[in-house]
Amino acid sequence: MILGRLVGTVWATKKNPRIENLKLAIVRPYFWYNPSHDVEHVVAVDQVGAEVGQDVLVCVGQPGRWVAGDYRCPIEASVMAIVDRVEIERGCEHAAPGPFALRAQFKPTTLVRVGADEGMTGGEERGGGERGTP
């Protein structure tokens, strides 16, 4: 699954018969599994009723078809969940090149940084997202 922000909607009347009546949403991924296959946007089927602006979990591949209601529908991705909160260890959200690093300059609105500062490359971000550790 990938984490992304729902940024838009697509309307289409002439569709493959198996994707009639499915709501289509444009999702801007925060990260992609494999940087070499990074995508700029993905159009996902939304069966959970997410709204534009919300952070969503998107599943690509065959499980996405199960969620869409018909495993035979020719789609690539489905919205699995609306995200309330993402916790990422402080300093790791834009960690050095590798899978699951968030896109630079683009972070989830639901992101909360957790963990101690020491030993982390980050820790300089003492902005509004900062909160004390117990």
Binding site: G8, H41, P74, R85, R113, E130
Partner: protein, 142 residues
Amino acid sequence: MKLCRVVGAVWGAKEAGSLGGRKLLAVRPVAVASGHSPADIAADGERPDLQDGLIIALDQLGAGIGEFVLVAHGSRVRDLTLGPGVPTKDVVVAIVDSAHVELDLLADEPVGTAPADRSNGRPACSGPAASGTAPHGEGGGA
């Protein structure tokens, strides 16, 4: 799927027999986050930026040049739309009437979606999260 613009058609003088003379379209994905694309995308509207790279997709719906389409990729998609044995992995699954992108949301800090506003209305995850961590609504730093 990807939101794409049809930029041309492809005809093969001599094709693989299993293509069955189906229509091939040259499409390019729309770069919705380029910063120059319009919020409303439609065939008769302002032209959005397109990503680099051309995709040759097989079309069963009758899309024309200049129209926007959804192109799905993968062998499973091919099996489900055309049946196995057709030598393509990109299929046009919908002709797009219009699409709307909230350009504000493509920036790092989206306008009007302060985390506090949204977490207040969403009770989920307050239970387990409340035990050892701080309250909601600090992430965006808004």
